[in-house]
């Protein structure tokens, strides 16, 4: 297990390096540069600024400097926000995005496993049919639609009580977080429900379930001790990519709910070609996702002895 984890970590580092290099290359291939936004800079000022930010150097030189700084954990200063450190931006806003994302994943996983197991139990009966219809909606409708609908629902609830029971937008308290994280997790929950359902139905026909019945175990014991654990395995495998999906989906939800997360800065930075912020947030997100995928793999190994022990 240790060797396995180390191997995964090493592969993760290579992935992050690749992400950094790809972003660097892509950014230097996009026409324009961050200084274009400051209108009417004289050639002299421009030259000064270029020197300050190192833009006068050749691309390979810039790449080496960027890599060096990155290794020492320094992503530089933002081009567009007066002398603000990229590290500060990440430090101030990432915890908000992470809280939102973690709540969404939590909500999606618990919901997906429960609904999936339920639909499998009630296969082809009313609860199954209703839930599976909702699942199709959840998978096919984009999250900004749910975000808007969610806000509308909150507005209605609040006006029904004549008071602001649950805030419609913003961030701060737990009640701020509920609706956006549910909206954000909905698509993933739908997907996991479907996966869990088919996985449960497949496992009912496994030989070891027949053995469990031949042993005289009660249906509920078979369900919890033999079916559920094995059925969750495929759900966990898609959790890694789903965390990525939720993270990127978070950009939109943050915007709709006016949540001061990192996503907003990321989108802004891309619009303004703010090199350092783009680089910083992309590499940071990349590293975060890679770490999450590794954590999910370790979790998988924890549940599946075949992975853990071999």
């Amino acid at each position: 297990m240790l060797a396995y984890t180390l191997k995964r970590l090493l592969a993760g580092i290579v992935t992050v390096w690749f992400i950094a290099t790809a972003t660097f290359t892509a950014m230097h291939m996009v026409p324009g540069d961050p200084l274009m936004n400051d209108k009417a800079v004289s050639a002299e000022i421009r030259a000064n600024l270029e020197r300050k930010y190192g833009l006068d150097k050749s691309a390979p030189e810039q790449y080496v400097i960027f890599m060096k700084n990155m290794l020492s954990g320094d992503f530089g200063i933002s081009f567009t926000q007066q002398n603000r450190q990229v590290n500060d931006i990440i430090r101030d806003h990432f915890p908000v995005s992470a809280t939102l994302g973690i709540m969404a994943i939590f909500f999606a996983t618990i919901g997906g496993v429960l609904w999936g197991a339920l639909t499998a139990l009630y296969r082809n009966r009313l609860p199954d049919i209703i839930i599976m219809f909702l699942v199709i909606l959840g998978i096919s409708v984009p999250s900004f639609v749910f975000a808007a609908l969610g806000q509308l629902l909150l507005v209605n609830i609040n006006s029904l009580f004549g008071a602001s029971i649950i805030p419609v937008a913003g961030w701060g308290t737990f009640s701020h977080m509920l609706m956006p994280s549910m909206v954000l997790g909905l698509g993933t929950m739908a997907l996991l429900t479907r996966l869990m359902r088919s996985s449960m139905l497949e496992i009912v026909n496994e030989d070891y379930i027949r053995t469990a019945r031949a042993k005289g175990l009660s249906p509920s014991r078979i369900f919890f001790r033999h079916q559920l654990r094995n059925a969750i395995l495929p759900v966990i495998t898609v959790l890694g990519p789903q965390i990525a999906a939720i993270t990127t989906g978070g950009f939109v939800v943050e915007l709709v709910f006016a949540i001061p997360g990192l996503g907003r800065y990321f989108v802004q930075a891309v619009q303004q070609l703010d090199y350092t912020v783009i680089m910083g947030t992309t590499v940071f997100y990349g590293a975060f996702l890679v770490l999450m995928v590794i954590l999910v793999d370790i979790l998988y190994g924890f549940i599946d002895p075949r992975v853990r022990l071999s």
């Binding site: 496994e206 030989d207 070891y208 053995t211 175990l217 249906p219 654990r229 599946d304 022990l309």
Partner: protein, 350 residues
């Protein structure tokens, strides 16, 4: 033969007129059509027959393992010490499943839960049925693994199925099925998925445990060599029915049904007549969606008569203690004499 006769009287499990069908898209499959047999204390009953003849469905019906739907037990009784155990709800069935009747399956590789240790899977049975603590049940599980000759049982108990070989897994399955000292062990082709050398070891272990644990065994197989080695009595199944049943010597040396004869001729013998040609049975079993009105073997039978096509034979009893019967018109007093087949009125070999 006399202690076998005694065993036959002391019946633990009696199956009477068992009928099982499956509703499929193609129609209703009549998988088992009126099966009768009984198992005496301490004896081994082998059930043999071609693939698809209903062997597994028969024993799984007894255990309540038939998936319903599509399956349905339409008639019959299975009595365990006199009490009917067919069609019981799970709660009632679990009083005998794994307790009075244990079962092992063809493929040990897939028959154990891959994410649970072998020890936990065995102790689970003990905790559920015998209400042992986890510690006591785990200790007993190790003892059971030891009993089935698994080396380093303690270490093995903490391992998962994927760390075991096929033979070792089947031993673990046997250990698990013995946990509550069942009086009947049902083994559905327990060695078919294993290497030949391992097969012999598993069979040996089973006969040994049968004596020490005083169990009856229902052994399903298509290997007549296994039958010869293990069985006291044999039921020959064909197209959902038992067509001949008798003591193992009666089945081998006084075969009274053409299908039994066919099975024997299709079997490779490992002794002197190796040079003898094997003759597989021509044709295939009848379609169980619409079973024939007459004898199921009619289309393949070398002795088929006119009557056989339209009317099913009764079970003709061939031995005085009524252990041997054949479901074939050739046993009718007016049937023509046939070379090779044992017929009513023939001298018994023994």
């Amino acid at each position: 033969m006399s202690d076998m006769d005694d065993a036959y009287k002391d019946k633990i499990l009696e199956v009477e007129n068992l009928n099982v069908e499956f509703s499929t898209y193609g129609g209703v499959v009549q998988a088992v059509r009126g099966v009768n047999f009984s198992v005496g204390r301490g004896e081994t009953l082998a059930i043999v027959g071609e693939s698809g003849c209903g062997k597994s469905v028969t024993v799984q019906s007894i255990m309540g393992l038939i998936p319903t739907p599509p399956g349905k037990i339409t008639a019959g009784e299975a009595r365990l010490r006199g009490n009917n155990i067919l069609n019981l709800p799970a709660k009632e069935a679990n009083k005998f499943r794994g307790v009075e009747i244990g079962m092992i399956f063809q493929d040990p590789m897939t028959s154990l839960n891959p994410t649970m240790t072998i020890g936990d899977q065995i102790s689970e049975t003990l905790m559920v049925h015998r209400h042992l603590s986890y510690a006591d049940a785990s200790a007993k599980a190790v003892a059971l693994l030891d009993k089935t000759r698994i080396p380093e049982a303690k270490k093995r108990a903490a391992q998962y199925p994927f760390e075991f070989s096929g033979g070792m897994l089947q031993r673990a399955m046997i250990a698990q099925s013995l946990a509550c000292n069942p009086s009947v062990l049902i083994a559905d082709e327990p060695t078919t998925a294993l290497d030949v050398t391992i097969q012999a070891q598993i069979l040996e272990l089973m006969s040994e445990l049968q004596k020490t644990e005083d169990m009856s065994i229902i052994l399903i197989t298509h290997d007549l060599a296994v039958v010869a080695k293990m069985a006291d009595r044999v039921a020959v199944m064909y197209a959902g029915q038992i067509v001949e049943m008798g003591a193992v010597d009666e089945i081998f040396y006084e075969s009274a049904h053409p299908y039994t004869m066919g099975l024997k001729e299709a079997m490779p013998s490992n002794r002197n007549d190796r040079a003898k040609k094997l003759t597989p049975i021509e044709g295939s079993p009848p379609d169980l969606f619409s079973p024939p009105a007459g004898c199921g073997y009619y289309a393949r039978c070398p002795h088929a008569m006119k009557l056989c096509e339209t009317k099913q034979s009764e079970e003709f009893i061939l031995s005085s203690n009524s252990s041997h019967f054949s479901k074939c018109w050739l046993q009718h007093p007016e049937a023509p004499k046939t070379d090779g087949l044992f017929q009513a009125g023939d001298e018994h070999a023994s």
